[in-house]
Symmetry: none
Subunit: 202 residues, 4 copies
């Protein structure tokens, strides 16, 4: 291996680690998953992992950061193709509808993510991170609603922030319920989408 290595190479390596870490955390939970699990899953040596990340927590944090970035980028990209507020909201709902709630990988990821939130109760750094993510998403929704109000699509009298909260509250709630195999995930989401849209449409 060359003593000097491109940034690109490093990025790729970190990504590999992150992918394996996510898989391991998803399968066993953050605490129960061990560095050796990540070693086994990634094929990267323990020493190497510690060259890229200074601790297990560090991996965890980068995982959330990277994932948040990806998610935001994805949405932004999709939104560039959409113009009306209602279309955007519809798109977001559909994003969650077009998902197999029982897909193991998805479930694993959901677990990791919400564990992270509760973990954050006890760690300031992580709390700040999670709060930032939440505020990003909230702002996104609030902007859409305000845009919709200006365009006359959305009722003027409703509080954009409150309705932005309502949106993410429903997503969070539905995600939690998706943990239960017998939940009517799709039906519920369809209903939530319909009533939410009716409720806000001007």
């Amino acid at each position: 291996m060359p003593p000097i290595v491109s940034e690109e190479y490093k990025e790729k390596k970190k990504e590999q680690i992150l992918t394996s870490a996510l898989a391991c955390f998803a399968q066993k939970g953050f605490t129960a998953a061990t560095i050796d699990d990540i070693v086994a899953h990634s094929g990267i040596s323990k020493g190497s992992i510690y060259n890229y990340y200074k601790s297990k927590d560090d991996i965890y944090i980068d995982l959330l950061n990277t994932n948040t970035s990806h998610y935001m980028e994805q949405i932004t990209e999709q939104f560039s193709k959409l113009h009306s507020a209602i279309d955007k909201i519809t798109f977001l709902f559909d994003h969650y509808i077009n998902v197999d709630p029982q897909d193991e990988q998805r479930l694993g990821y959901v677990s990791v993510f919400y564990e992270f939130i509760f973990h954050s109760t006890r760690d300031e750094d992580i709390h700040a991170l999670v709060t930032k993510r939440k505020n990003h998403l909230l702002k996104l929704m609030k902007d859409i609603i305000e845009q919709g109000q200006q365009a006359g699509e959305v009722k003027k009298e409703l509080d954009p922030e409150l309705y932005a909260y309502k949106f993410w509250i429903m997503i969070d709630g539905v995600s939690i319920q998706s943990v239960f195999a017998d939940s009517p995930y799709h039906n519920v989401l369809a209903m939530l989408k319909q009533t939410y849209l009716e409720e806000i449409k001007g």
Copy 2:
């Protein structure tokens, strides 16, 4: 102190352990909290704790069970004083509204409880327990809605199960958001209550 201690005494001891356990789990999370933490918090010796509970998991499980029982009893008792479906739903919303979202103990409990749900993804026994709890609460709500439909208080055309889900989804979502200090917990809940009631009223 021996010999032959009353059942009452034992119950009290278990309750002490549970109280300390909840405090420790709330502060550090289930995995990170140690038996020694519970020892320190409760003043009860390690050996004694293991006389009452056969493992840390066992404590965790009893914690959820006991809490669920208390919660269900409380609600059942209150419901006996209420008769219309709308009153009952209002009562439930108010139950969550009349809470300080930033109360440390409550936050701790919420963290422990939702961690439990995600933990359950990886442990069948716990999953069964959590599912049972969910189904209890779901049934409770469904029954209220059906009762309301029969009494003509609630729209006949809506699916009781779906709306029961919607209720708990909102509660879960709001509970998660309450982790963030800057969330407008009360305002959002008040709005959710109002729109939910309007939506279902016949």
Copy 3:
């Protein structure tokens, strides 16, 4: 329970404890068997057991002592009915032949007993005890052989001590082999008996 209790009562209680202790040690081995096992098996409370024995080791020691006494008494009694040396030796061989080598209780007991011997390597008190037992049995055999020599039944030229050793060595060896289910315990013992008797007969 009366504050003053007869010696007889105490003896009976100790015997109960010893019986249960033997059963437990036989099943799990001395170290693995717990006082609670003995409590469960005997129905006698833990505190009570400690009234009669000051430690687990103490029980172990009394077990061997008592057992040795019983065994010696038994043999002595039987020997009173026999007169020739050859008859006595025959009786001893038959004592071991008339046994089901795979009887669980017997196997348990054999295990406990030999464990004791090896345990004794590390504990002077126990070593003294075990040595004393060995010497008792050795003397018993040596006396028989000498008696046989005087009576002209047994060859004069053989060393009584050496042949006494040989006898117990074979018994020990056979006992160990009996641990293996597929050992031809009876056939081997029958052969050992025959050749031993032939070897010593005058």
Copy 4:
């Protein structure tokens, strides 16, 4: 020391652990000896020991396996130099005669080994192992006797299996007796050797 240590290095390390383990087990017995004892004796860290062996039981098992292999190899090698059955049997007797019965290390090993046998009463895996060892040794002896019969050195009428058993029974018995410092180990063994050979010679 990493990276990529030779197999040889690993073997040496395992051997070190085994040597220390044997010493500790010999001194205190398997159950009473602790991993920390092995750490102290070997100077190898606890974590490292667990890198090479996954449990205390595992060490115990490898100890027996390794020892059995060495013993069998040793015998096989020596046997290649010997041809007559009587020579081989003589060699085996002498192998036990040429030993200091009070040598601490030997005594330790004997204790560990026989404890193992009795331990095996309660553990199927270990029982299988010990049974296999016993059958190996039995077969070895039986083959020698049969070879001797074919060559006319050994009486044709005696049952090879029974006499193979007799041989090992005597070795076991003598080994047990060697625990007692005052046993005439050498004299007894010499006598056993002489009478056994006379008994079987054709």
